[in-house]
């Protein structure tokens, strides 16, 4: 069994685990797929933050993206559920055992098409989890049809021209009162990493919509979901840094150029201004930003919105710290006396 061991060397984290122990099975995705680069950030960040793999669940739907949980953290329980239905399964699991941490990985088809209803209702419930959308604008696993996040007017050899306006899964999240909404780009490893860390510290549903190019079906330059486009057009809202909580934190910063957001269990997110100042704690500002990005076709990344006031679903349900799944029989089955009492009342 794993206990908290002081790292004996640099290759071990606080749990005494080597980074290798955060690996999964070899990926069966296409070489160069954006999803694989996100996978490696997940591995790195979880190792760095010493997340206990045995207390983590890896959840997904169906799709190339949804295969990813098999490729990280073999020591965590994983569940590759049904297409579009990861949200409901995770809701059940996290209520059954609120001691767990959950990382969900989904695709734009999985979340934006078949799963849109479950996505929105999960957010409304504020189920504690990191919800990663590996967004490539296509259905990779079924070979390249447009998904609901594909851009209006986009052309693909196989799929033709997309004639519908895209769904913005970040705007959807904000509209559904999600309290942690971020957008990033698989090609921006540093930002993905810092956002992942922040998301893992968030108490509630943290949405990361990561543009993750499909090198096989949607990676030509004109596609806004491609590497070349992302590299050329990504506009970072801010430079983000995640500062782990130490016993005592002393961070010097200039409030004129930097915002600090303290997460509920200690760590701090440092947002260094890049362009205009942006207040990620305003829901209205987030909607405005996304609406403007939508109409101007801008690719803005960063922490779009954060609100730490909402209760999570297990909190709303007044659940004990001990997992429901681990309650002993005595706590689950009322006594014979209790039944006798009811029977007596019934007979009265």
């Amino acid at each position: 069994m794993t206990t908290d061991v002081k790292p004996s060397n640099e290759k071990l984290n606080k749990l005494g685990l080597d980074k290798l122990e955060y690996k999964g099975r070899p990926s069966t995705l296409c070489a160069g797929c954006g999803h694989d680069s996100i996978t490696s950030q997940i591995i790195g960040v979880c190792w760095e933050l010493s997340i206990n793999p045995q207390h983590l669940i890896k959840m997904s739907g169906i799709g190339c993206s949804s295969k990813s949980p098999a490729y990280f953290m073999n020591r965590a329980h994983g569940f590759n559920t049904l297409h579009g239905r990861m949200p409901s399964v995770t809701t059940g699991a996290m209520l059954a055992n609120r001691e767990l941490k959950a990382i969900g990985v989904s695709g734009d088809g999985d979340t934006g098409s078949i799963g849109l209803g479950q996505y929105k209702h999960l957010l409304r419930r504020n189920v504690p989890m990191v919800y990663i959308i590996e967004n490539n604008g296509v259905y990779g696993l079924t070979k390249g049809q447009f998904s609901a996040t594909a851009d209006l007017g986009q052309k693909l050899k196989y799929a033709g021209t997309n004639e519908l306006t895209p769904i913005d899964l970040c705007l959807e999240a904000v509209a559904s009162d999600c309290g942690f909404v971020a957008r990033s780009f698989a090609g921006d490893a540093k930002q993905v990493r810092e956002l992942l860390k922040a998301a893992l510290s968030y108490n509630g549903t943290a949405v990361l919509d990561i543009i993750s190019p499909c090198v096989t079906f949607n990676n030509h330059e004109e596609s806004t979901k491609s590497y070349p486009y992302g590299k050329a057009h990504e506009e970072r809202l801010h430079d983000i840094n995640f500062i782990e909580s130490k016993d005592e934190i002393q961070v010097d910063y200039d409030p004129g150029t930097t915002r600090m957001v303290q997460m509920h269990d200690g760590p701090i997110i440092q947002l260094r201004k890049l362009g205009e100042d942006y207040d990620p704690t305003s829901r209205a500002a987030a909607m405005k930003l996304l609406e403007e990005a939508h109409s101007k076709q801008e690719f803005i990344t960063g922490l779009l919105y954060i609100d730490q006031t909402r209760q999570t679903l297990p909190e709303l349900h007044n659940l004990p710290r001990t997992a429901l799944a681990n309650l002993p029989a005595e706590k689950l089955r009322p006594s014979k006396e209790a039944l006798d009492k009811i029977m007596a009342e019934m007979l009265a």
Partner: protein, 615 residues
């Protein structure tokens, strides 16, 4: 103010009849949303407390208020509880249906109706005894709030019945006291009206009919309840820790019952916390997902739904079957296909649920037939689901679930909870981490699982609905696939003798077999008595669960004719029996009906007699 009453004109002078005691059916026709439930519950409880066997069935419309509803109260000294086609006493309180309701009465029946309800055919029915009540005036006199007038109007028929049938006034009052949980004021108002009405009848409407009640001692040690309350209570005593559901008639009241019992019975005094979570999902697809998510993580997890919800749970059922995740799904069956008749009963989901899921699936089904079994399967379903690591369906129906039935007290679970084959961290340590999620170690097709959060480094496995080998790794190998399906079939065979066994009542000299299940039971029980009287002795097997086992085969083997009694159009259980015992396929005789109403003994009797050339 005193009541001025015109003496009703239609009182005929009938010859004295032999009284018919404790054996008749009252049919109360009202409009829904008019609060007749209180009145009907009062009558039932009074009868029951007089020691007389009674059942109540509500035939109600799928809307909220203003449409016809019929509440039938069967009084039967022999304890028969099935529906009957005929009514002896009609309480015609609904203008919209009164003419048709009257038409359906047989000669000798009674019709009680308000003065202002005009019956087209009254003059043509000298064979009916009419009692006309000045309801409007009595309500006016009661002088209650507008909102309560309909309720009060219904008390008028309670009073009339009390007088005409000789209901014990003390029990009637007691029933009202129980209903209003002892609050004096409403009891006073209501019972006042009841008394006035009784008095009015006594003074103005001489008894002309033979129906009456007499106290008995046939209900002591029993109480009355509906199957959804019993099932909900059972689930709570089964240690349910997670419920996800979406409202749908007629299953909603099962979750309501759970929600009623949980805070009282399952509040953790140590921590002040809940030992359960009940989530109203956004639909049945999500409810199913949550149930299996929670079941996967180790909760005792369930939902309750009806036909449309079952359809929506098809894909998740297949996943849970194949990934081997426990979860309990109550289907309170209503009439389908499609939205069908949401407030009418059927047993139409049996075949569908057994095979629910695409590809090769076969599910476990429990089939409660009475209140005790609703309670028992409420807890046992979790044991079966966790033992077999698979979805378990409990198929109750609207008749069992929403109507009022007599029952003996429920037994506390005799066995400790069975949490199934779950390996915890110490056990894994002992095994040196050597285990495989889908390996059939014990030869029963059931393999070992671990729960997320298990601290052992080798505890984790990957759950998926795709092909996998014993190590739970993704596999497209033909042999892995075949072996896995073969093991799942073995598990299904294990289930045959793990689920509740059928109840068999074999009679010496019986020439005919009857098989049935669920809410069809009371009609079968009654029909068998009549058939015996008519010279046809029958043996009876009641199925309590699927898959079927050898007991069923042996039973069928003994009779040339086996009547399979059920409430659906396609004789669904008959089909399953034919597939189970192809060698006897032709002796299984479909004895089914599907009109939205509970079965009657008469129907069964007619079918069997016809089949036996005795009709």
């Amino acid at each position: 103010m005193s009541i001025t009453i015109e003496r009703p004109a239609e009182q005929s002078n009938r010859p004295d009849q032999t009284p018919i005691v404790n054996d008749f059916t009252i049919n109360v026709a009202t409009v829904n949303g008019s609060g007749s439930q209180t009145a009907n519950a009062t009558i039932i409880r009074a009868l029951f407390k007089m020691g007389i066997p009674v059942t109540g069935k509500n035939i109600f419309p799928s809307n909220i208020s203003g449409l016809p509803t019929w509440y039938t109260i069967r009084v039967n000294k022999n304890g028969y509880t099935a529906r009957r086609d005929s009514t002896e006493i009609l309480v015609a309180f609904n203008n919209q249906t009164a003419d048709a309701d009257l038409e359906s009465l047989k000669a000798g029946a009674v019709c009680i109706h308000p003065q202002d309800l005009v019956l087209k055919d009254k003059a043509n029915r000298p064979d009916i005894t009419f009692y006309t009540l000045p309801v409007k005036q009595m309500v006016k006199e009661a002088n209650v709030d507008v909102k309560l007038r309909d309720y009060i109007a219904n008390m008028v028929y309670v009073g009339a019945l009390m007088e005409l049938l000789s209901l014990d006034p003390g029990q009637v009052k007691g029933a009202l006291q129980a209903h209003f949980k002892g609050k004096a004021k409403p009891v006073e108002i209501n019972y006042g009206v009841v008394q006035k009405a009784a008095e009015y009848v006594r003074n103005n409407l001489p008894k002309q009919d033979p129906f009456k009640v007499e106290p008995m001692n046939a209900t002591s040690g029993k109480f009355m309840i509906d199957g959804n309350s019993a099932g909900g209570m059972g689930a709570v005593f089964g240690g349910v820790s997670f419920v996800a559901w979406y409202p749908i008639t007629p299953s909603t009241s099962l979750v309501d019952a759970i929600n009623d019992y949980l805070p009282e019975l399952r509040h953790d005094e140590e921590t002040g916390k809940a030992t359960y979570a009940v989530v109203q999902a956004e639909d049945e697809l999500a409810a199913a997902g949550m149930v299996f998510g929670a079941g996967w993580a180790g909760a005792r997890s369930m939902t309750a739904t009806s036909g449309p919800g079952i359809s929506l749970m098809t894909e998740f059922t297949g996943l849970a079957y194949f990934a081997e995740i426990p979860g309990v799904i109550w289907d309170i069956m209503r009439m389908g296909p499609s939205t069908g008749l949401p407030t009418r009963v059927s047993q139409g989901d049996v075949l569908k649920t057994y095979f629910l899921g695409h590809g090769d699936t076969k599910n476990i089904i429990l089939l409660p037939g009475n209140m005790k079994e609703c309670f028992e399967f409420g807890w046992r379903a979790f044991d079966v689901a966790e033992r077999l690591q698979t979805p378990v369906f409990v198929l109750s129906d609207l008749d069992l679930g929403m109507n009022l039935w007599m029952t003996e007290p429920f037994d506390y679970p005799a066995e400790p909870m069975d949490r199934g084959k779950v390996l915890d961290a110490p056990q894994l340590k002992e095994l040196q981490g050597k285990w495989a999620r889908y390996e059939d170690v014990d030869g029963d097709g059931i393999t070992y699982r671990t729960l997320p959060g298990n601290d052992h480094p080798a505890a984790a496995y990957f759950t998926r609905g795709t092909g996998h080998n014993t190590q739970a790794s993704y596999s497209e190998r033909p042999d892995d696939w075949e072996n896995n399906l073969a093991r799942l079939s073995k598990k299904h065979d294990t289930a045959r003798n793990l689920v509740p066994a059928p109840v068999v009542d074999e009679k010496p000299g019986a020439t005919v077999g009857i098989i049935s299940y669920g809410s069809a039971d009371p009609a079968v029980v009654e029909a068998r008595d009549y058939l015996r009287e008519d010279g046809i002795e029958t043996s009876y097997l009641r199925i309590k669960a699927l898959p079927l086992n050898e007991t069923v085969r042996e039973f069928i083997g003994k009779y040339d004719h086996v009547y399979v009694v059920e409430l659906n159009y396609d004789a669904q259980m008959r089909s399953l029996l034919q597939l189970h015992t192809p060698e006897y396929a032709t002796r299984l005789i479909a004895t089914n009906k599907c009109d939205g109403l509970p079965l009657t003994a008469q129907f069964i009797m007619d079918k069997v007699k016809q089949g036996e050339g005795a009709a």
